[in-house]
Symmetry: C2
């Protein structure tokens, strides 16, 4: 079960432990000849340095921790992780992914676990926009840099990489108005705060044109349970139709909401886009495969992950704490809008 160690090599080759260590680390102190002997032996016997021991000694692990809600929940997060992974390959560090499952206590446990493992830095998409703020600030100051991504807790003083959701939502809504669809059903999650930027962007677009905001056109549905979500969406639409104020467009605030809305409309035999146009935030490649193909606001998920890790590395490499705080910045990446058939009249 045991791996071969430096000590084993030393014994076998009749060198001292320190000679082996230096040779394996290509130290200039060791002659080319003995270095070769040692390295050959190591390769032949599948020597793999024990990183626990190494990290314990040198004081860092060359690994960074990533905490997300749950990466099984959406292709969006998968793309963010892809970007993180790409950056980690470039800088040559490992990543350890943990999931908070939208739970504040879990989030704290993840943080502790990562610190116990000695990560050099942490990439965090917080559970909520105010969770564990003090604790995270403490960690960032005393232990290792923490960089926030996607969800940007304003109480945390550090570098944050997010998306300009406000502008994305505004543009999408504007697009619907442009094609003369003004009775827009806005569907979002029931746990988003009211200052959510997607809601704000939506409202702003209406306000710009003095279109009144009708609360009956705002629906807040469960994000965890798709059955509940479907029921809520379906009932909202049917209810409005009954009252003779049927919407002629739907704006979905998330990936799942948007794609499922399309499925529900098909089931209800409501024609898209003829009767109801559909647009929404969606990072899935499947937007293309849907029928009709789905117009969508795409978030630069991969870029976000990539940038977040790069910025974290900068903070890690910046030795002095005082200088570090001057590096803190908040970056909002721009979304892009893809017009497809679901909003093409």
């Amino acid at each position: 079960m045991a791996n071969i160690t430096i000590k084993d090599i030393a014994k076998a080759l009749n060198f001292s432990v320190s000679t082996i260590s230096k040779a394996l680390n290509n130290s200039y102190e060791i002659s080319a000849e003995t270095r070769k002997i040692i390295i050959d032996y190591a390769n032949q016997h599948n020597y793999r340095p024990n990183r626990l021991a190494k990290s314990l000694k040198i004081g860092h692990t060359n690994s960074i921790g990533v905490i997300v809600n749950s990466f099984f929940s959406s292709t969006f997060l998968a793309q963010v992780l892809d970007g993180i992974h790409k950056a980690s390959n470039e800088v040559g560090c490992d990543i350890i992914i943990m999931q908070s499952y939208e739970n504040v206590a879990n989030e704290k446990a993840c943080l502790d676990s990562l610190i116990s493992k000695g990560v050099d830095g942490i990439l965090l998409s917080p559970v909520s926009e105010t969770s564990n703020s003090d604790y995270i600030n403490l960690i960032n100051e005393k232990h290792c840099p923490v960089v926030l991504f996607d969800r940007l807790n304003p109480e945390i003083k550090t570098t944050k990489i997010g998306v300009n959701e406000y502008k994305g939502a505004l543009e999408a809504t504007q697009h619907l108005i442009d094609i003369n669809r003004k009775r827009i059903l806005f569907i979002t999650g029931d746990k988003f705060g009211d200052n959510n930027q997607r809601i704000q962007g939506f409202k702003k677009a209406l306000k710009n044109l003095d279109i009144p905001i009708n609360p009956r056109y705002m629906v807040f549905c469960s994000l965890e349970n798709t059955d509940e979500m479907d029921a809520k969406i379906s009932n909202s639409i049917l209810g409005l139709i009954e009252q003779n104020i049927a919407p002629n467009a739907i704006f979905g605030a998330t990936d799942v909401i948007t794609t499922r809305s399309l499925g529900i409309l098909a089931k209800l035999k409501i024609k898209v886009p003829d009767e109801i146009a559909v647009i929404g935030f969606a990072n899935t490649d499947i937007a293309f495969s849907l029928n009709p193909s789905l117009s969508a606001i795409r978030q630069p998920a991969k870029d976000m992950g990539y940038l977040a890790l790069k910025k974290l590395i900068e903070l890690i490499e910046c030795a002095s704490n005082t200088k570090r705080t001057s590096l803190y910045e908040t970056i909002l990446l721009e979304t892009s809008i893809n017009i497809r058939k679901s909003t093409t009249l």
Copy 2:
């Protein structure tokens, strides 16, 4: 930057290091009184045990490594990872996920990296069905248990958890024949071997009813590049139509193939299922949202991940190597078939 250590607590509280250690581990040797003092102090000062040091000492890490192709590629893998995660929560171990990106050298690097980190066991979905076989056998014998999932390399002697793809494909094909669709276009990846169980199952269903296997109805397309994939699928269909041997059904061998086929048919204005029925392997929840909703063979992805980890833990906990080999088993989980509108006439 530094965490508080046992030594710090010892100094502050005027106890010895070992007393602190024992108290923190709830040893019966320590009086309730001093234990309380120590634990309170530790909590107040956010003491977090250094797991590097602990693991180095005790010889195991309570963590297991997982190597997959690339979990961004499909919801299938995300579901497998979800199952692994669920099981890891139950047994109380951490998981470290690595990606081989379908590359044999990468796979070896992942294995080495995991062993360097001292994982207690490895869960592996091999790059190909013959990659690194000797090396993996060596690791499994000398270092830590390796359990295979999804892709089952026959050359590796260990526990393997897979899916009965053969039966799944057979049933799906049978279903198409049952609805009287016998000109079935089988679309699969160009890198699957010929003894791939999905192909075999498909062929067997035809054979059972003496339906000849027409090679023009077998298309092998790129899985990496969706543009190439789309072109290949599109051209195949159009070519057959031109020759007046248009298929009246499509069987897609993967998630992506199946959903994209639906998109392509919509684009070509070919009616589904009226002109061409569609079924395929697909683990995406979006099957429901598609229009028409997609009939699919679903693999028990989450169960597979869950079971794989549980079996790995069994192997880890089985101390003696000789007894361990007697635990090796190969489990093939059954698929389920969901008939939806894309094959409902």
